[in-house]
Symmetry: C2
Subunit: 214 residues, 2 copies
């Protein structure tokens, strides 16, 4: 499958590498055309890897991953271009974390809204699926590195889109994926971040996850 990754940070490059290893053609999109991080990533990830602008990547991908920082995601998606995203699945991995006032960060949107919902409203003909935003990027692509992998969550209005994304998540190694419902449930997973960050401090590592026990 042709997949676009918007954002060349740790999350974007880690997901991009996993997706090429799984045999997908991946274009890494960034604000500028000759982004050195994207260039490095391409040179390390074989013939299935390419890079370009947000717009070029979005035009290329059949599925698009939003791996930009939550505070600039809307801007990045606007640069990606409404026409290039139209009708496609957008896997929204971003969290609206605002570190501008130091630690702990706050959420720039929460409670009565979420980043997932904001994106869905701004791009109504895109199929937004919120997932993976509750684990760090090493775990995203290697859930088996924990003794117990725990759960992943899915939020989105389009059931077929969620099924497609779930297939990719199963390929990543995830097993226990909970579909929370429509995109408004992204409020729940984005609001896991405040305790996630405190737990990272308490446990001294980001290599942990939430498991729902019954």
């Amino acid at each position: 499958m042709k997949i676009a990754i918007l954002g060349t940070g740790m999350v974007g490059t880690t997901l991009g590498t996993k997706l090429t290893k799984l045999g997908h053609s991946v274009m890494m999109g960034s604000r500028i055309n000759n982004n050195p991080r994207a260039f490095d990533w391409v040179s390390n990830n074989g013939t299935l890897a390419s890079a370009g602008t947000f717009s070029a990547a979005a035009a290329f991908g059949e599925i698009v991953f939003n791996c930009t920082s939550g505070l600039v995601s809307l801007q990045a998606l606007q640069l990606a271009g409404r026409e290039n995203l139209s009708g496609k699945i957008l896997v929204d991995v971003a969290n609206p974390l605002d570190f501008s006032k130091g630690m702990p960060p706050t959420l720039s949107v929460c409670n009565t809204d979420s980043l997932g919902e904001v994106i869905q409203r701004q791009f109504p003909d895109v199929k937004v699926v919120k997932t993976l935003n509750t684990v760090n990027c090493q775990l995203m692509v290697n859930p088996g590195s924990l003794k117990e992998p725990g759960n992943l969550f899915l939020s989105g209005n389009d059931n077929e889109a969620k099924s497609e994304v779930k297939k990719l998540l199963l390929d990543f190694g995830w097993k226990d994926i909970i579909d929370l419902g429509d995109i408004t449930t992204a409020r729940g997973t984005e609001q896991l971040l405040p305790i996630w960050i405190r737990l990272m401090g308490t446990l001294g590592s980001g290599m942990f996850n939430f498991k729902i026990v019954r």
Copy 2:
């Protein structure tokens, strides 16, 4: 130990019953003196059970549990009386859930603040310990009813107070209790409620918990 329970709802009566079974003297506090729910509870819980106003209960208790609805907790604590709470441990079990606009509820305070912090600021010489607010009341007092009990969290500024509360939680049957840090970490546990409520809908039951897996 003498324990006050503020609030005669499901949470208050369930905790009160467990505490009397553990041999504590429990006074149930409510807004009015002859609250029929409190009267019922007293008549079903033996000689260790008593009831009175918020103020009488707070004066009685060496430890005070806030089991009122989060939206009226401050009001209840004011009725309980600053002089009756001074220097005591206040176990804050409440969540600031606002159901006034229907389902799902929103949080009346979150992100940059929490109910736990609001109470601590309003009652600076009370030792606020936030805990138990991430599970339903059946689980609070019977964690063994799940195949895996999962974790409880503690937030509070006073380490000795947290140790005292932890002893009670161990008596309740909890094993894996994570001290997240000072009272500002209550933002993390209170913001678990949005996903908790969605999970209850998805799973069809409130009998579940979060387990942190590593």
